[in-house]
């Protein structure tokens, strides 16, 4: 019975995990090469975290993968060889909720834009899963920052895409709300391929299967650091504290290599 309930809450079976492949990507802004010959992969079903100094191009890389940058070249595709167009859900640092729509209508936005029949039952399930069962009809203005970001998470999950791109999704929240949302995300994003941009090494340690540090201009991606254990992890555990120290020193070196101001 419990299995059945869990299955119905998920509603439709999630699509099979698809990894991300970026091959020899090139992106320039105003004649300055942000990426040149950048290649990397995210294993299907893994959470990859991108750390790096601000302005290094983390968000640009996400936009490139999301297909939102026009003037880029190189290959971006799924690990199955097909393009990622229409298989990516995007979650921004800002909640990007439409202020005139209720939480429920915000979650249903994607299906409305695609001209599908809005699946209200599933949207309600998702809002309940992020802990907003009693705020479904509230407009964003009546919600707190944490609640708004929960709606944004539900909206991202409602897209039911195999690949999820997150651009500092929890950075505008206070510490307690952030850690709650990280736990929630770790639970709800199981089975998805996630690329998470963050400026917080602890967040990467809590959620990441692979952690990359981006540095330099044009950008290079550092080797993956893989924290052991299941997510969400407790970053105060001794072996993670050690890894945290390593990440910080890599970041410091990255900052120097990128040449940004302190």
């Amino acid at each position: 019975m419990i299995m059945v309930a869990a299955a119905s809450a998920q509603h439709s079976p999630s699509p099979a995990p698809v990894g991300i492949v970026v091959h020899r990507a090139l992106l320039a802004y105003d004649g300055m090469r942000l990426f040149d010959n950048l290649s990397f992969e995210v294993v299907p079903g893994h959470v990859a975290c991108l750390l790096g100094p601000s302005g290094v191009g983390k968000s640009s890389l996400l936009r490139l993968i999301a297909g939102l940058t026009g003037a880029a070249s190189g290959v971006v595709r799924g690990s199955d060889g097909a393009p990622l167009t229409g298989r990516v859900a995007y979650m921004d640092q800002r909640d990007l909720l439409l202020p005139w729509a209720s939480a429920l209508d915000n979650v249903l936005l994607g299906s409305r834009l695609r001209g599908e029949t809005p699946d209200r039952v599933r949207a309600r399930d998702l809002l309940a899963a992020v802990g907003l069962a009693d705020r479904m009809d509230a407009r964003p203005k009546a919600l707190s920052g944490g609640q708004r970001q929960r709606v944004a998470l539900a909206r991202t999950l409602a897209e039911d895409r195999p690949v999820i791109l997150m651009d500092e999704p929890f950075s505008s929240l206070d510490a307690l709300t952030r850690s709650r949302l990280q736990e929630l995300a770790a639970r709800l994003l199981v089975g998805k391929t996630v690329l998470l941009v963050t400026h917080d090494p602890l967040e990467a340690l809590r959620l990441g299967d692979a952690i990359h540090v981006m540095a330099g201009r044009p950008v290079e991606l550092g080797p993956a650091m893989a924290p052991p254990g299941l997510t969400p992890r407790d970053p105060t555990e001794p072996h993670l504290v050690q890894l945290h120290r390593r990440i910080l020193s890599t970041l410091r070196a990255a900052d120097a290599a990128t040449g940004s101001q302190p």
């Binding site: 834009l113 695609r114 964003p140 919600l143 944490g146």
Partner: protein, 258 residues
């Protein structure tokens, strides 16, 4: 809103007192400047006449508002929706404003007659541009990150663009449209009255011309008073309606903490 009305009443009262003082001190002949009392008595004595004509003018203004808003909104949507047409429509729009509406009022009366049609056309013409310009502004300034989000959700097909227009661009532009409508409500009476001055058989503008010719300046003032009331009521009605219909624009809602 209540405080605003109170202040408005207080300011009006102050102006009336000032007016009375001017009449007492300068003592102009009543056909140059009648006092508030003479105006009030004209208002009461000729109430039926005033109301008949006010109804005509009000109808012209309201019809002008409806048509001007519909045309203006449609114009803005057309400019946004039909990319290639934009290059032709926008200069046409601006050129249409380069011709002063007042200058073509006699033409409109010639074409559409002395009845209400020419006045409604005047009000429509004068409203059309502020509505189009502000709505267009709102439609063009949609938050870019919303559009990016929409693109990841639905792609770039024509149907996705139309849906994005309907679900994101248009609602996002409603506050801008509302400010255009406020301007429209304020200028619509000008269009109607100018139309009546050029040639008509009814309406407050017509009544004022007649009263002026007969030195019934008190009646003129009474008509003017009604016209001002109509303009004020329209403005506040549009303001209240836009606040009620666009509640998310109001940022004084309490924000509960989690």
């Amino acid at each position: 809103m209540i405080g605003g009305l109170f202040r408005l009443l207080l300011v009006s009262l102050g102006l009336v007192v000032l007016w009375q003082v001017v009449v007492w001190v300068a003592a102009p002949p009543p056909f140059i400047l009648p006092g508030p009392l003479a105006t009030a008595s004209a208002f009461i004595n000729r109430f039926d006449l005033l109301m008949q004509n006010a109804a005509v003018t009000l109808a012209e203004i309201l019809l002008g508002l409806v048509f001007g808003t519909l045309l203006g909104a449609a114009g803005a949507l057309a400019v946004i929706a039909f990319g290639p047409a934009r290059r032709w429509l926008l200069p046409l729009l601006i050129a249409s404003q380069a011709v002063p509406v007042f200058a073509i009022a006699p033409l409109l009366v010639l074409w559409l007659g002395y009845g209400m049609a020419s006045k409604v056309a005047m009000a429509t013409l004068i409203i059309f541009f502020p509505v189009t310009a502000s709505f267009l502004d709102g439609l063009r300034r949609t938050e870019g990150s919303w559009l990016d989000l929409a693109q990841t959700m639905a792609g770039t097909s024509t149907s996705a663009r139309l849906a994005t227009m309907r679900h994101i661009r248009i609602p996002a532009a409603l506050p801008a449209l509302a400010s255009g409508l406020r301007v429209a409500a304020a200028v619509a009476p000008i269009g109607a009255v100018v139309g009546e001055w050029v040639g008509s058989g009814a309406g407050l503008g017509y009544l004022m011309l007649q009263a002026n010719a007969r030195m019934q300046v008190d009646l003129m003032f009474a008509a003017l008073f009604i016209l001002a009331l109509i303009a004020l009521a329209l403005f506040y009605a549009v303001d209240a309606a836009s606040r009620a219909l666009i509640p998310w624009q109001d940022d004084s809602l309490p924000v509960p903490k989690e």
